[in-house]
């Protein structure tokens, strides 16, 4: 089978599947179970200075969508609530017992050089492989001037990263928050500060639901709720966009990425890697199903790579990046129309009503003595894909490319672009 050994910013692991800094990596007991199950590495639950923080009771919220539990997940937990020396002792022991696994230690301390220098020295003694700076936590810690309060200010990111590089020989991963308008600011700042890699995304500010009986957001703590960090399958598209933006940014060129956000299986992982991620980190999926899911990730990725002829992760890492472009460079002349396979169609009419009510009136509903037939009107179809997405039958509606004889032309070249008309005048 394909070789899925992973090397990112000098940190090596037998596979690219790491557990993200979170409850699954909170202590020796969990991490040893994870390594036994086959995880390639962990980012230890974020350490802070003593005295340890205190957590509230009732901490997680979840979004069940159409019967799918934990389609989205959120939490209002803070960083580790255990004393620093206990964590450090356990980290050292686990790294000694599992030398081939990646051991990355997540950190968050107040924004003073001295504080960072202090904790880095202690972590170094554990012989951990790297540190990850938690600039992402969006709740609680940010109110204390840490976490995303730092991650939202590029100057702070650069400054703290620089301190860390100065006071440690360990590779430094900077974990980015998605609670910004443009992730490139923080990513470029991390690079400028000397970061060896970035990890993203941390969780997204969110209110999961409102309990309509007690009129409070969930998770509810004694009748009140607070915004929490959103994660799980629902955030994957947001995370992948941010990963891709960094991967294709010339200023960030060469900056390794550890991809995080809604990764539940090997396919999700392969998608992140094709967008440039060197390793991937998982939290919600493990919290939902336990550590055993890594088995499918490992052999699923291996079999897929075999099928595609990829011998190592580098063979496809970033392969999709050149195809991520700006809208203005898309081919305006490219044309598709929907095609319904009448043999598969079950006559539910969903394609018709979707197109009729909300799109382009391009699917005719025909009724011929009681039997229904749904037919695409090619001339009206704009190729938006909506019907294909709503159709409940896999493969029943496909979008077929139309050979219209037209050459590639993008918006910057299009005479309909007002900017071009101005230039021509």
């Amino acid at each position: 089978m394909a070789d899925i050994r992973c090397d990112i910013a000098g940190v090596k692991s037998p596979n690219p599947f790491w557990l993200a800094s979170a409850p699954p990596t909170d202590k020796e007991y969990n991490v040893v179970r994870a390594f036994k199950a086959g995880w390639g590495g962990v980012v230890w639950k974020t350490l802070g200075e003593d005295p340890p923080i205190v957590n509230v009771s009732s901490r997680y919220g979840a979004m069940t969508y159409n019967g799918t539990r934990m389609a989205g997940f959120n939490n209002i937990e803070l960083i580790t609530d255990r004393p620093l020396d206990v964590n450090l002792r356990e980290i050292k022991q686990v790294k000694r017992d599992w030398p081939d696994r990646a051991m990355v230690v997540s950190l968050m301390v107040p924004c003073e050089e001295e504080n960072w220098r202090n904790i880095l020295k202690q972590v170094e003694e554990t012989e951990a492989d790297a540190v990850e700076l938690n600039f992402g936590c969006p709740h609680g810690m940010s109110e204390r001037g840490m976490g995303s309060a730092v991650g939202q200010v590029p100057e702070y990111i650069e400054m703290v990263t620089r301190w860390c590089k100065k006071h440690s020989r360990m590779p430094v991963f900077v974990k980015l928050t998605p609670n910004v308008t443009n992730v490139l600011g923080p990513a470029r700042a991390a690079k400028a500060g000397g970061a060896d890699a970035v990890s993203l995304i941390n969780t997204i500010n969110s209110i999961m639901s409102v309990d309509l009986d007690i009129m409070a957001p969930t998770p509810t703590v004694g009748g009140k709720g607070s915004h929490g960090g959103y994660c799980g399958p629902a955030v994957k598209p947001i995370a992948m966009h941010m990963v891709a933006e960094i991967a294709r940014d010339p200023e960030c060129a060469g900056l390794p990425i550890s991809g995080i956000g809604g990764i539940s299986d090997w396919r999700d992982a392969a998608e992140f890697m094709s967008l440039g991620a060197g390793s991937v980190q998982v939290c919600t999926a493990a919290m939902h199903k336990g550590f055993k899911i890594v088995e499918d990730m490992i052999d699923g990725l291996g079999y897929w790579m075999d099928g595609k002829g990829h011998a190592t992760l580098e063979d496809f890492r970033g392969a999709a990046v050149p195809n991520v472009t700006d809208w203005q460079y898309l081919d305006i002349n490219y044309e598709t129309v929907a095609k319904i396979d009448q043999d598969l169609c079950i006559q539910c009419g969903l394609c018709h009503i979707a197109c009729e009510d909300t799109s382009h009136q391009a699917i005719a509903a025909q009724k011929d003595n009681g039997s229904r037939r749904y037919e695409v009107i090619d001339a009206e179809c704009v190729g938006c894909n909506l019907c294909m997405h709503v159709c409940p039958v896999e493969g029943c509606i496909s979008m077929v490319e139309v050979d219209n004889g037209k050459d590639y032309m993008n918006w910057t070249q299009d005479p309909r672009n007002p900017m071009n008309q101005k230039a021509a005048e």
Partner: protein, 449 residues
């Protein structure tokens, strides 16, 4: 002679009776209902709606179940079918809504519309607030004959439109065959009675029990005293076999036995034969066969003169009978019921076949099936028309049933009819409810014009 009929009560233990006559299809709990509801695609122009005789907006009510809007779901159902609770239990969905469900096409597994309908209606039936309000009183009065599904559906809709309704019912209880005919395990826990109470909650409906048209009252009087009349008498008569031995002891009309069973409050006291023969191929035949089996009969043989496709019982029901241990014999017709000491001993059947012209005939070969009890279930028919007793004009008939137009209006301009007693009826509860509803809408237009 060792040929004493073996008919006995109390063949089973109390717990067997309880189990055999409890709900055949247990209700869905919330979790199961949500999962099942999520299977519905919310089709556009949904074929299931078209296949429901009362036209319930099925995708709409299922979507409401999936959002925990159970009241809204029930309202969607009851708006079209005030007996949505009974129909959820007794409709042969496999040939109605569920047959049309688009999920059959790929997966052969329709959305369980009946069970979802029950989930929604059960939730509101016990609710304090009746989900309908009456319109301003019109001062008009309508007489309804028969408190079965057709009559009650008509009465409820009329009451809703602000008219006052008097229902004349021959029997001691309202509900029609829901109360006296439907298989016990389809409507356990006195459901029929509870549903009647639910329907009457709307107000403006008075039921007069023990009042039979043709015996205690006359159509002419009703037409004189009321602004309109609806006839929903169902089929009071039972077809005879016309065979030698039909009047022997141990030979019963299936519907009479079922009525006794339905009214019994102690099933252990109902005598049932060890060997039972059922003659017929419809709902009633299946129901009597299964219910006698469940009362403890050892051998139950159902004999039908044609093949399985020709039976009016659906394939699903035939299978249900077989799963219950009923032996179904096709292609045989009864020739003679034999007996000793005035009691049946066996039934002689002749094999049948179709001739070249597709006509059914006997082959000449015969066999006999021993029986302690024989049930006739070859169909019900309408009792002779009541207007003989006072009606001056004759209702136009269509065959043995009352002729009606699309609005369920009879040949008399102020008389409507619906349910099993009209010619267009499909002899289903749901069809009777629809007839009553259509007639009520027509009567309302008539009274307001």
């Amino acid at each position: 002679m060792g040929n004493q009929p073996d008919i006995a009560a109390g063949r089973l233990t109390d717990s067997d009776y309880a189990e055999n006559f409890s709900d055949v299809h247990p209700p869905l709990d919330r979790k199961a209902a949500l999962i099942e509801a999520s299977r519905c695609y919310f089709c556009y122009d949904a074929p299931c709606i078209e296949a429901c005789p009362t036209g319930i907006d099925i995708p709409s009510f299922i979507r409401k179940i999936s959002t925990d809007n159970v009241r809204g779901a029930a309202q969607d159902i009851l708006d079209e079918n005030v007996m949505g609770g009974a129909c959820a239990r007794v409709c042969p969905t496999e040939v109605l809504c569920q047959e049309a469900c688009v999920r059959n096409t790929q997966e052969h597994k329709p959305v369980q519309i009946g069970l979802l309908q029950r989930y929604a209606t059960d939730a509101v039936m016990d609710d304090a607030a009746h989900p309908f309000q009456r319109a301003e009183p019109t001062g008009k009065r309508v007489a309804v004959v028969g408190a079965g599904p057709a009559g009650l559906s008509c009465a409820h809709r009329l009451a809703m439109h602000g008219h006052d309704v008097v229902v004349f019912e021959a029997k001691a209880k309202a509900g029609g065959l829901n109360e006296y005919g439907i298989a016990a395990y389809k409507v356990p826990e006195d459901f029929a009675h509870r549903e009647v109470d639910f329907i009457l909650e709307i107000g403006g409906i008075e039921i007069r029990n023990g009042q039979a048209l043709g015996r205690d009252i006359a159509l002419a009087d009703l037409r004189r005293d009321y602004d309109a009349v609806f006839l929903g008498m169902g089929l009071g008569g039972v077809r005879a076999l016309g065979l030698e031995g039909e009047d022997l002891g141990g030979v019963y009309n299936a519907v009479d036995f079922i009525a006794d069973l339905r009214q019994s409050d102690n099933l252990a006291s109902l005598p049932v034969g060890r060997k039972v023969v059922v003659i017929g191929g419809g709902n009633t035949a299946i129901d009597i066969a299964v219910q006698t089996k469940r009362l403890g009969a050892e051998d139950v043989t159902l004999v039908y003169r044609r093949g399985p496709e020709a039976m009016s019982a659906t394939g699903h029901e035939q299978e249900f009978a077989q799963v219950n241990g009923v032996k179904i014999k096709h292609w045989a017709q009864p020739r003679q019921i034999r007996g000793a000491h005035d009691h049946v001993t066996d039934v002689v059947f002749e094999y049948t076949q179709l001739d070249d012209n597709g006509r059914l005939g006997g082959t000449g070969d015969a066999f006999s099936v021993p029986a302690d009890m024989v049930f006739k279930a070859i169909g019900q028919e309408m009792l002779p028309l009541p207007q003989a007793n006072g009606g001056s004009e004759l209702l136009e008939m269509d065959g043995a049933c009352i002729a009606v137009n699309d609005e369920r209006q009879t040949s008399l301009p102020d008389v409507w009819a619906g349910g099993d007693c009209v010619a267009v009826s499909e002899d289903l509860t749901v069809a009777a409810v629809q007839d009553g509803k259509l007639a009520a809408e027509s009567i309302n237009r008539f009274l307001r014009s």
